[in-house]
Symmetry: C2
Subunit: 432 residues, 2 copies
């Protein structure tokens, strides 16, 4: 197993607001962090195969993007500033119907390229042609939790159920453990209760978790209340969904009982502030969720509704949006916001306590920022600098599972020009 | 007068959403744009002294930051996540009291460095030691409207009045016309009516406009109503303020009558979404203001409450915040948002119709973005790409008043290392 030593960086371990070590060091062995802290904190006798001089850089955990639809990069800026149903019915769905398997591979590759360049080291994806997604993730060297989006009506319904065990068998725990699988029933409004029960039963048998959209819009909540007399959260609870590990995307419109359920059942909420703002879905009660003890991670959603996959920006938007929506400037302070973008999403990868922190035993998923930028001067408070002033282009080096995948802003695992050519010609075919 | 030709860029003139010309060109003579449009649109016989090959780049007007406190970069990330009055009284004001003239020069230089690197070509500033600000702006090559913040109580009150004519005399119309001056009464809650009347009278005599904070917080509006029986806007209107050109920062808490006044009196509103979010001041009714016919520009406010000076980010936040706060995904669409960040602020520089557009007769303040970035693929809609996906680090080249001030991300007018050393040592003295 390779040994890597990163020296001279300002090391932000994320154990607490003040665990920031100037001129610190991080020791990595194989896929894991051996130590992270001040100079001299590496174990005695640690003999690295490689040493990275990270003077003038800031080291922090890589970002965990807990909800996206990777290949929707192909639809970036294809349709904007439209009402939700017109956007979906007249623009997004017709184009998605023309997507072919290889489109998904290249769309996902563009997503991986963009995410690595902006400091994201792992992501949770829900889309289709998921074998193509897995191949792209494996090649890119990222960590991912992958789910085929399952629609419980029409001919797709049975196909999606059939695909479940196959996809789990082929990819769960593969790529050196970087890829895991969850079943992905799209949402309660696209998956009727009987179908959801089948999915829940299957996930239980396969020993995997669930990735689902819940309570994204007010209309969804109203429809569920009308049709089932229950909120989306309470409906899926009654079906037994929360007996499994659940990654619940959005959770914008919640009542007290919904929040109690999410907390008690240890669900992970994927908060997508920019998508929720752009589609005018609403503002998730993140401050209340955190207070209720719910684990909240951060996500970008797909590029068609964002329109980038920039977790730095998402983190800042999350913090600012909570402050203004609660009219409390103390809401979601910097340490909590950065925590949401890192360790907060660890559970989405099935790695709670082992991801999103720089400390012994955690996965070696970390990033180095180039701190010689005007917005990082003067050196007052690194946590505030990173949450309120940093840019994703400050990311210089990205390490995932102990491997250097970007260095000096050059992504080593992906041929950038090939990706641009592929996605451009495919988008032209799709939109012509 | 030098002649410059920019060739091969995707030219976004901002005349309307679709005035986007791939492989276009821009001709500049001296300080002004001669032509901007498709290939071959430069005047016949235009013989440039210099040609910039901008293939693979996107050209658009430079950003106009309509409200900031430049030298507050020194206080960046010095105090965050605090209640407003505690932040001001215990942190910001005591530190500001220790600022010396030369600190303001270097703090402003850091601001200019950060702004140029993020595509901002002009800004409206309100602070103190304003001669230092003017010197920094002149050196940096930026365009600016400068105002000394005037507090109408205590010993400062008369000093600020005395400084007005001197500062106007020294700097209004200087630096080749790049620097203009407005008087800067801080706000109705710091400048009593009698004092405001003196400022208004002086501005009228000097032939300059006004830069003022108005209706930033709910508390301010409540206090003005209690003390004067009028909203801040209606109070200053009754004093005759709007008979002058007014740049009104914030305007978060407005009633119908306030908006009518701002529209009728042709005030420019400086909207600062991220500062308003971070300090939990509230959400300005931008959509309603625009509907009422008010000219709205965009601003970052000072770095202590943002914490960067990134107009790309500010523009995106503005668009997303209007959508979610009105629950209308059609609110502030991309062309309108980019317009707010560019031409919308032209009036703040006293250059309405001559700034923020790429067309004949406008000032040659423009930027080139490097489009070879993952978040710009595929090439669907440039307007949406720029508003919803771009990063300020995409800015490659910056031209202000016909002069190239940044090229290949290297700022030509400022010694970057000297700025970092100066601000760092000064911040250490201030905060120790």
């Amino acid at each position: 197993m390779g040994k890597l030593l990163i020296k001279g960086a300002t090391v932000i371990t994320m154990e607490n607001h003040d665990s920031v070590f100037d001129g610190g060091e991080i020791a990595v062995e194989g896929q894991n962090i051996v130590s992270a802290g001040p100079a001299g904190s590496a174990p005695e006798g640690f003999d690295p195969d490689r040493t990275i001089d990270a003077s003038g850089m800031v080291a922090l955990p890589g970002f965990v993007n807990t909800h996206t639809h990777a290949a929707m990069t192909l639809l970036r800026s294809y349709a904007d500033d439209l009402p939700l149903m017109k956007w979906l019915e007249e623009k997004i769905w017709p184009l998605e119907a023309r997507l072919e398997a290889e489109d998904i591979y290249w769309g996902t590759m563009l997503c991986c390229l963009e995410m690595i360049r902006s400091g994201t080291t792992s992501f949770a994806d829900m889309y289709f042609f998921m074998d193509q997604v897995a191949l792209a993730v494996e090649k890119a060297g990222m960590r991912a939790s992958l789910s085929r989006g399952m629609i419980g009506v029409g001919p797709e319904a049975q196909q999606a159920l059939d695909y479940g065990p196959e996809f789990v068998g082929r990819w769960h725990g593969q790529a050196g453990g970087r890829i895991t699988v969850r079943l992905g029933p799209h949402a309660p409004y696209t998956c009727p209760p009987d179908y959801l029960k089948k999915v829940i039963e299957m996930a239980g048998k396969l020993g995997v978790g669930i990735h689902i959209h819940l309570a994204e819009t007010r209309t969804e909540v109203e429809d569920m209340l009308k049709n089932y007399g229950k909120t989306p959260i309470q409906l899926v609870e009654s079906l037994g969904l929360f007996e499994l590990p659940v990654l619940a995307a959005h959770c914008v419109h919640l009542d007290e009982r919904d929040m109690e359920i999410l907390a008690a059942k240890k669900a992970i909420v994927a908060h997508n502030p920019e998508s929720n703002m752009k589609l005018a879905s609403g503002i998730a009660p993140v401050t209340a969720l955190l207070k209720a003890g719910v684990a909240v991670g951060l996500g970008t959603d797909g590029a068609a509704s964002n329109n980038n996959l920039d977790m730095m920006e998402e983190m800042r938007s999350a913090a600012l949006l909570q402050k203004v929506s609660t009219m409390d400037p103390l809401a979601l302070p910097s340490f909590q916001a950065l925590g949401m973008a890192t360790a907060g999403g660890a559970g989405a990868m099935g790695l709670e306590g082992q991801l999103g922190l720089l400390k012994k035993g955690c996965k070696a998923d970390l990033i180095l920022l180039d701190a010689k930028k005007p917005h990082f001067f003067p050196r007052n408070d690194w946590m505030a600098h990173i949450v309120y002033a940093a840019q994703s282009s400050d990311v210089d080096t990205v390490i995932i599972d102990g491997n250097v995948v970007m260095e000096g802003r050059k992504v080593l695992t992906i041929d950038e020009d090939e990706v641009y050519q592929q996605v451009q010609s495919r988008a032209e075919r799709l939109t012509k």
